[in-house]
Point group: C2
Chain length 169, copies 2
């Protein structure tokens, strides 16, 4: 029993008609008939009683409806979780740095960052003064600035993060 079979089962339950369920699932009607038949054989219980040209839900089928809906719902929730996670991980980071602190901190930072977030793209620009760095970040031309100075200049409303340890994420 897998999620596909349960989805098919619920489509039949909702329509009580193999033909309409099949077209709503975008498969041929005999394929659906075969899928339900296989599921019934696996479970050892008929899910529908074939009466005349139509079908009636069996007791076992009735007992399967709620667990089946739960599975399908939660599968959809898992898909949504994955989709939202993708949104967070995909993207690009543009940073700007000065020459002197540009080499050592930057190289290891980028290496660690890309190791943790392989789908990310990191773009680095160059600046020559701390003021240039601050300006670029303020102007939105870069999302992250890296600078070394005795006293941080007019940082405005920017977040400033001191770097002392090589371990951070």
């Amino acid at each position: 029993m897998d999620a596909r079979q349960l989805t098919y089962f619920l489509a039949v339950v909702d329509t009580m008609n193999f033909g309409r369920a099949a077209e709503q699932l975008y498969i041929a009607q005999p394929s659906l008939s075969q899928a339900i038949s296989t599921l019934e054989r696996e479970l050892g219980v008929p899910l529908f009683h074939r009466v005349g040209r139509g079908i009636v839900l069996s007791d076992a089928g009735a007992q399967l409806i709620e667990p089946a809906r739960q599975v399908v719902r939660d599968l959809e929730a898992a898909r949504a979780a994955a989709r939202s996670a993708r949104g967070l991980q995909r993207g690009r980071v543009e940073l700007i740095a000065m020459p002197s602190p540009g080499m050592e901190p930057l190289s290891t930072l980028v290496r660690d960052f890309t190791a943790d977030h392989p789908a990310m793209t990191v773009t680095a620009d160059a600046a020559f003064t701390p003021e240039e760095v601050v300006q670029a970040v303020k102007a939105g031309r870069s999302e992250l600035g890296l600078l070394g100075a005795a006293s941080p200049p007019h940082t405005g409303g920017l977040n400033v993060l001191p770097i002392e340890d090589s371990r951070w994420s």
Copy 2:
């Protein structure tokens, strides 16, 4: 994304090791590697970061764990529901009946019963006196007796059910 992939994913999460997860799933390790790879491609997000010889859970992977566990749990619940339903529906009914009430009540009873419980097998034996019927049921040769008499004879500890309406289940 299907339930199989989520099961595989959780096995890797629980062991943090493709090899052990594979043997716990009774599949070869490259098959598991391929399955996870396919899942990651479908989702558009890496679930693990391959660092050196090992793996580390990614942010997306962490966010997928709980929904995945939910799906697997629910699938197991659905299986259990189907199993319990099977226990109720499978079986055989052996009944014994006299000739006179044997035809009309019996034929419609069996027809309705088998229509409602197609997995059931109904076996009918014949008797010629009410005493024979009672005796057969008492002896356990039949599970159900059908008889017509002015006064029910020594029914012992048997349950007696008067038939008046044609509607019962």
